[in-house]
């Protein structure tokens, strides 16, 4: 089974129908384990219980960038390989990514209130993630503004690839500008700075959220394919109805059929 085999939407639907229940189950199990471990994790000596926001915040923030990465690859698929499912993947991912980004911003500001004393700070990391959120919304607006999906797909693909420039800026903003947001502590040179009691639940949560994204993404892609089928069926039906009424009118009166055709 290669990527090209999945180009057939029917085969894709059949495969995902088999995979989705397992993915959903794995997501639920891992989320339960992760949340349980996060609840059991010790309080931080400085931050107290608020440190537990991190177990939600960090996976959301990771995924906000990961989803744009997925969309960028899908956009390459649209522009370069013309893979028929690539634009479906890109379109389905955008609202999910926007949701993850919003949750990352929301949990971050809830954590920032007791810790930094402010809900919002115009710090480099926060600002660049906010830009990412705005770009998700702009992309969704672009998808909705055009009724022809393939036309919208190519425009959205160009915009997605341009927006991908923002990803390294977000990742390295905390290293380039020494600001309020703490620098990278999980993945960095010389090993993680986190204690094991925090690191393991965090990694479990990260995997669980990634699985959650894959599950939601595949389900959204299925919905999008079905939505397009419904749309083309409706258009076929509409044209058939127009055609048959055209024929009926044409048998009765020639002039009326011309008018109907013009209308």
């Amino acid at each position: 089974m290669t990527l090209i085999d999945l180009a057939n939407p029917t085969r894709f639907l059949a495969l995902t129908a088999r995979v989705l229940p397992w993915l959903a189950a794995a997501t639920i199990i891992l989320l339960t384990i992760g949340l349980y471990q996060a609840a059991l994790a010790p309080d931080d000596y400085q931050q107290g219980a608020t440190v537990k926001i991190m177990f939600i915040h960090v996976p959301n923030a990771w995924l906000s960038m990961f989803v744009w990465g997925v969309m960028s690859i899908a956009s390459l698929g649209t522009l370069v390989w013309r893979h028929p499912l690539a634009d479906v993947a890109a379109k389905a991912a955008a609202p999910i990514g926007a949701a993850f980004t919003f949750l990352a911003l929301l949990t971050g500001s809830l954590w920032g209130r007791p810790m930094w004393g402010t809900y919002w700070e115009w710090d480099a990391r926060l600002t660049s993630v906010l830009i990412l959120f705005l770009m998700y919304l702009g992309l969704m607006a672009l998808w909705r503004a055009v009724d022809d999906p393939s036309r919208a797909a190519r425009a959205a693909a160009v915009l997605t690839l341009v927006g991908a420039i923002n990803l390294p800026i977000i990742k390295f903003s905390v290293d380039w500008w020494n600001t309020l947001h703490q620098p990278a502590s999980v993945i960095r040179m010389g090993g993680s700075a986190l204690d094991k009691s925090f690191l393991i639940p965090l990694l479990v949560m990260a995997v669980a959220f990634t699985l959650l994204f894959v599950t939601l993404h595949l389900a959204a892609m299925r919905n999008e394919i079905l939505r397009r089928r419904v749309r083309s069926l409706q258009m076929m039906q509409a044209s058939r109805m127009a055609f048959s009424s055209d024929m009926a009118a044409g048998s009765r009166e020639d002039n009326a059929s011309k008018e109907a055709g013009a209308a």
Binding site: L79, T127, I131, L134, M135, L137, G138, A141, L142, A145, V146, R151, A152, R154, A155, A157, V158, L159, L161, V162, G163, I165, I169
Partner: protein, 222 residues
């Protein structure tokens, strides 16, 4: 080369003549800046502190306003199809069009800056700093905005959608443009660091803008 020069000359001439709308951008810039004292109150000390930000916001909005016409007019009269089919690479043609647009619509904004600086109670050095940052930063606005203009023309949607797509991309330019001007007026920071990042942003958008715009024109027009 002559084709590109001809394209630049033609675009500038169209933009400056009746119906071109390049100078409307300057008028819009003036209006936005004049509106600000009504919003924040005519406190001269406050205005001189907010001055660079007001000038930058005005320039950003004014350049966004005129970007709409970058491809739309050519698309309407069919010359965009000729440009797309010509032997000159589309990327170069896009770059030439953006350059012409910047010369016709961006430079007048910078020329108008000293006058507007007077209205905002900016001193000589601050005005010069803002004008210099605008000179370095507005090419980035034009070249990233061109991507939005190209998307808008292929989708037959302009205006609001283009603003939504382009404005997030212009945030870094705004940040460093204002930071560099503020560094001269108040800040403990040096002028050099944000100004060089601003120049880098312009250079990067100079490279990416034409390619992205050409890609979206190529894939989008039919």
């Amino acid at each position: 080369m002559t084709a590109l020069a001809a394209l630049i000359r033609r675009d500038i001439r169209i933009a400056l003549r009746v119906g071109g709308g390049a100078l409307i951008g300057v008028l819009f810039f003036l209006t936005v800046v004049v509106l600000m004292p009504f919003a924040v109150g005519p406190d001269l000390a406050l205005l001189s502190r907010l001055g660079p930000a007001i000038l930058w916001l005005g320039a950003l909005l004014a350049s966004l306003l005129t970007l709409d016409r970058l491809f739309m007019a050519d698309h309407e009269d069919g010359s965009l199809d000729l440009i797309t089919m010509s032997r000159t690479p589309l990327e170069l043609a896009c770059a030439a069009k953006a350059l012409a647009h910047w010369l016709a619509a961006g430079l007048p904004l910078i020329v108008a800056t000293p006058v507007l600086g007077l209205l905002l109670n900016l001193d000589m050095i601050a005005t010069a700093a803002v004008a210099l940052t605008l000179l370095a930063g507005t090419p980035a606005l034009t070249f990233t905005g061109m991507i939005g203009a190209a998307l808008a023309v292929t989708l037959h949607r302009g205006g609001l959608l283009m603003a939504v797509l382009v404005l997030p991309l212009s945030i870094p330019v705004l940040i460093f443009g204002v930071a560099a001007s503020q560094a001269v007026i108040v800040g403990p920071m040096t002028f050099g660091a944000p100004f060089s990042i601003l120049c880098a942003l312009s250079l990067v958008s100079l490279v990416i803008g034409p390619f992205a715009a050409a890609a979206s024109l190529r894939h989008g027009l039919d």
